[in-house]
């Protein structure tokens, strides 16, 4: 076992992991943050997307030891004192989730795109959000929700 320190959603977690534990497993099993979902565990579906530093990462393809000392953001850190933030509110209003399994990954990927702060064309929006798989809601409402926040009309 290796002792590492993750700063997750501004809270320090000193945890013990095996080198083979993915960041996703460490977040779920060691930090108790089960909002990060695991779908395919080989980098295809994007359900486990979290932000490491400022970048979206497939948390099934990064070992927890690689994130030692890094700041990580997960879906649990998005809310605004218990209330939806703009992106979550937009997902709610635009019916951008149905079963909700892909939603944490979609939200974190969209968070990166919104925070990037540069103009996003519709083509680029489609290209970026196509990184993650949704198998029930459909992408149209997800794109609409993210677009509404990008356009500053999220809440």
């Amino acid at each position: 076992m290796t002792r590492i320190s993750l700063r997750v959603n501004s809270v320090d977690h000193d945890i013990e992991v095996e080198p083979r534990h993915s960041l996703a497993d460490a977040l779920r099993d060691r930090c108790g943050l089960t909002g990060t979902h695991l779908g395919c565990e080989h980098g295809v579906c994007g359900a486990c997307t979290v932000l490491v530093g400022d970048e979206p990462v497939r948390a099934c393809l990064m070992f927890a030891v690689q994130a030692d000392g890094r700041a990580v953001r997960t879906v649990e850190g998005l809310d605004d004192d218990g209330a939806f933030n703009a992106l979550q509110q937009a997902f709610h209003e635009q019916h951008a989730l149905q079963c909700g399994y892909c939603t944490p990954g979609m939200l974190m990927l969209a968070t990166w795109l919104v925070e990037r702060g540069t103009p996003v064309s519709d083509d680029e929006l489609r290209e970026v959000m196509s990184s993650n798989l949704c198998r029930c809601t459909g992408y149209r409402n997800i794109l609409r929700a993210v677009r509404s926040v990008l356009d500053g009309a999220g809440s």
Binding site: R20, E41, G46, E55, P56, R58, F63, V65, E127
Partner: protein, 290 residues
């Protein structure tokens, strides 16, 4: 879907990585971006005893022009090639190739050198490296070894790197302003592996092609240069019919093509014909834009 246990060690320099490989031999595997290696480990198709993480290597990510060579640090992430990094026709080609690599979060982690080391038949960077006769620079405790692309790719996922060598730099020619470069790829879904892809480039003098390079990937176990198709172009004036002729020559330029559930060998051969022609059209369009 969880990897087998392994020992994790960090290398902060290429020499440190080489020393670790010398110590552990074929028990050790280099971890770069991990976007191909970790899935394979999660499937337990790879079970390395030791994982050497080279992400912390200082100055491992760069693109620099050095006289007539373009040097790419092995740890340069794919995403860096999406925005113009260096001038010249090859610099202009990079963004058009990079956006075909998987999806954005993958491109933000995956590395140029990692793709070359993984040597997937569908790798865009492997095809580009073969097209331009890149030189792979591998570090071991014995020093650097330079490997020509024509010797480097040996079979699907098999390259010429020895167990104790780590790929640290890839050298490409810094093409002059008379070159035009193009790319085309066929797959069934955006972001998926290429079924066939082609990198094509030619040098124009007074409206005539004086030199040409055509590389093809995804179709066979290793990328190859279609020299018979390059010969079709030599001395000719670019035109749609010339490009179709070169595509037809390229389709006949290799014997064994892959068959898998994506596409039969016969379909791949036809796609080679079309992708080469389209890559040449892309090159011509890029050349006209400049």
């Amino acid at each position: 879907m969880k990897p087998a246990p392994f020992e994790y060690v960090i290398a902060e320099s290429w020499d440190a990585a080489a020393a670790l490989l010398a110590e552990h031999g074929d028990d050790a595997v280099i971890l770069a971006g991990g976007q191909s290696l970790v899935p394979v480990m999660n499937f337990r198709l790879a079970q390395p005893a030791v994982l050497v993480d080279v992400n912390p290597v200082a100055d491992g990510a760069y693109l620099r022009i050095d006289a007539d060579r373009l040097r790419v640090g092995a740890l340069t992430r794919h995403v860096r090639f999406e925005a113009p990094q260096v001038g010249g026709p090859l610099g202009a080609l990079f963004p058009r190739v990079a956006r075909h690599i998987a999806h954005l979060p993958i491109r933000m982690r995956g590395t140029f050198g990692g793709s070359l080391a993984h040597a997937d038949p569908a790798s865009e960077w492997c095809t580009l490296a073969r097209t331009f006769d890149a030189v792979m620079v591998a570090r071991s405790v014995r020093g650097d070894r330079r490997i020509d692309a024509s010797d480097y790719f040996q079979a699907a996922l098999v390259n010429d790197l020895a167990d104790d060598e780590v790929l640290r730099e890839i050298e490409l020619p810094a093409l002059g302003p008379d070159w035009a470069c193009g790319f085309a790829e066929f797959n069934r879904r955006a972001g998926d592996f290429a079924i066939v892809q082609s990198v094509a480039a030619f040098e124009l003098h007074d409206g005539r092609i004086v030199d040409a390079r055509i590389g093809i990937g995804g179709a066979a176990e290793v990328p190859w240069r279609a020299d018979t198709a390059e010969a079709v172009l030599a001395g000719a004036i670019p035109s749609a019919s010339l490009f179709e002729e070169a595509g037809a020559a390229a389709a006949e330029s290799v014997g064994e093509l892959m068959t898998d559930r994506q596409a039969s060998a016969e379909m791949r051969r036809d796609l080679v014909r079309v992708m080469v022609s389209r890559a040449l059209e892309d090159a011509l369009a890029a050349g006209v834009e400049r």
